[in-house]
Symmetry: C2
Subunit: 343 residues, 2 copies
DNA sequence: CAATGCGATGGTAGCGCTGTCAATAATTGT
DNA sequence: ACAATTATTGACAGCGCTACCATCGCATTG
């Protein structure tokens, strides 16, 4: 314990084994499968490790064993707090396991994703979690030939590479619009930013719900590929209302936009929900606190992360799920912003 | 398991070299230092790599070379959007380099941090970026004996392990309070959540500024170790106003709390800034959009990440900065919530 | 023209660890 | 008690790559 961490000392497993009076392979087993050692040797190796301050060389371990204990996670964005919750779920459940997480982000670029997957392929991870189902052909090929379990998260679709944990963005969008229609609103605007594939599917849900009610009108839709901000919500709303002044509700593809719309309404003295209903998506924490509280579609992000990592770890260890596709659904959180004024 | 394709056999560098008609070491150089090859051989190796679909084995590379091209990043939280911006800066500047980022989070636990550092030590990263200056003794020892450049970010202090990029949270807190005092406010409340070391230093700045004006009063302070949320801002504000009804301003240690306070004021019909000034910290994007717009202390998070990764990469490649400590400062963003009503 | 320098290339040896499987010790059943 | 079985342990042989140094040939120099 009092021994200084050596700067120059090359302590290898061999040195540990020598001090403990066992063969190197036995010392190796001490780390991989301690139960296979007799109590006496286990203790001797243990104290030799401590005394020498032995630090295993992961590269050598990986080379010799053809395995690593790293699970790769590929997400589009770290700035988008939606993924923060997913990651929390992933980390929470990975921490009691032997596996460590290697996280990369693609900034919503499928080319960047491909590059990251190529890197992961060279690292031979024990498992892989990727976001969504819209990979390049090359990425898809890498995933399919990857010699480890793979989970696709955030949405569900046909033909999973391996496992899939998510929900239907289409259904969620459709459900949100159905709710607004039930409130008697007819001119429901759509505000979209970034327009990644999942947002696109929410739009499809909006469009089809509006069409089913014979209320779809392109003038109700304002989108941009610019990344989402609260401020952008206000800007898009201003564009929308300039184009189509008679709207009585807005569906925003995420909560940041919805908050921006609320602020813009306050600025313009438009009463919410009196003159304008607002519905967001994701149900971030602040939605319930806003004044008025904001309706949103709750997505089970933490659970998505938790299930994904659990399923991947189980698969690594040979416990394959009986059902590779897991639909975690969504919940409509109906609040003041989309219901009749109570006071 | 993602199913395997055709049994393609193992493609090693040897196979590539054979096909290209060169020695393995020349093929190896193709990856590490292509300029050292003659044009003819470079092209032969290049096409052999493509033809065989060669994927380098990073573990073997690391074992043989005693190096990796991974830079480890240790942050306390992925949920806290403050770090998202730092990470954006890190990723932006790392992407045009050869290095890849390995990210871990400690959930504000210095024990978890120690565990992550132990893992990194075994991986021999090319560089390391850690958050803050409050490590355990063991963590500190690991950092000091780590055979690679180390950057501590988010704050500055004495005795850096190696490099340090941040700003003074104490000064920032002090400056925020000075501004509020200049507006003529006297009963300035303090709302704090999580109370990690950096938040604690912001409090110190608040306390000393208040004491300097002979206005410090423990009844003005409400803190909790619970993680921050917008909703919590409202709750803490309610506690504060119940305890000390005559406050005329609130300094929140972060912007989420400040937004929660704004909502709570709206709920209670307390006019902002008329009856209550609000000042946040970090200047998240939504602060400027809120109604009224919210004053905050802008911290240069993106720049912090960018400088940290740049300095680490430079140090890896032998270009040590002449000054290891970089103070990126902060800016007070004065907005409606802390200034006299204009209309 | 020999001496010198240097760019391009290859041979030799491992890096530190673990898979395989055989060898030995301990335990059990009948 | 003795064979059969099961726990422990060790010897060997690489994993795929690169550091190190030697070598070769060609251009430059006086």
């Amino acid at each position: 314990m009092a021994r200084k961490p050596t700067k120059s000392g090359k302590i290898r497993l061999t040195e540990v084994a020598k001090l403990a009076g066992v063969s190197p392979i036995t010392a190796s087993r001490f780390f991989r499968n301690p139960d296979a050692l007799s109590l006496a040797k286990r203790e001797r190796v243990d104290s030799a490790v401590k005394e020498l301050g032995y630090v295993p060389n992961l590269a050598a371990r990986a080379l010799a064993s053809h395995r690593t204990e790293v699970i790769g996670v590929v997400i589009p964005s770290l700035t988008n707090s939606v993924f923060a919750d997913v990651l929390r779920g992933i980390y929470d459940s990975s921490e009691q396991s032997r596996y460590s997480i290697q996280l990369t982000n693609t900034r919503y670029s499928i080319l960047q994703e491909e590059k990251m997957l190529r890197l992961f392929r060279a690292q031979k991870p024990a498992g892989l979690i990727v976001t969504g189902i819209n990979q390049t052909a090359e990425s898809r090929a890498i995933l399919e030939t990857m010699d480890c379990p793979v989970a696709q998260i955030m949405e569900i679709g046909d033909s999973p590479v391996d496992m899939m944990i998510g929900f239907s963005h289409y259904d969620a969008g459709f459900a949100a619009i159905s709710h607004i229609l039930e409130q008697g609103r007819r001119r429901i605007g759509f505000l979209g930013a970034r327009m990644d594939p999942r947002v696109q599917r929410r739009f499809d849900g909006y469009r089809d719900a509006m069409k089913a009610a014979s209320l779809f009108d392109p003038n109700l839709v304002v989108t941009t590929t610019v990344p989402t901000t609260v401020t952008l919500g206000g800007t898009l709303f201003a564009d929308l209302i300039a184009k189509t002044p008679d709207i009585d509700a807005v569906f925003c593809v995420n909560d940041d936009l919805a908050l921006g719309v609320l602020f813009e309404c306050q600025r313009r003295q438009i009463s919410v929900p009196g003159e304008m209903a607002i519905v967001g998506f994701n149900d971030l924490e602040f939605m319930a606190s806003a004044v008025p509280s904001l309706t949103s579609v709750r997505t089970n992000r933490y659970e998505m992360g938790r299930h994904a990592i659990t399923m991947v770890i189980d698969a690594i260890e040979g416990r394959r799920p009986r059902e590779p596709v897991l639909d975690l659904g969504f919940q409509l959180m109906i609040r003041e912003s989309s219901t009749p004024q109570t006071a």
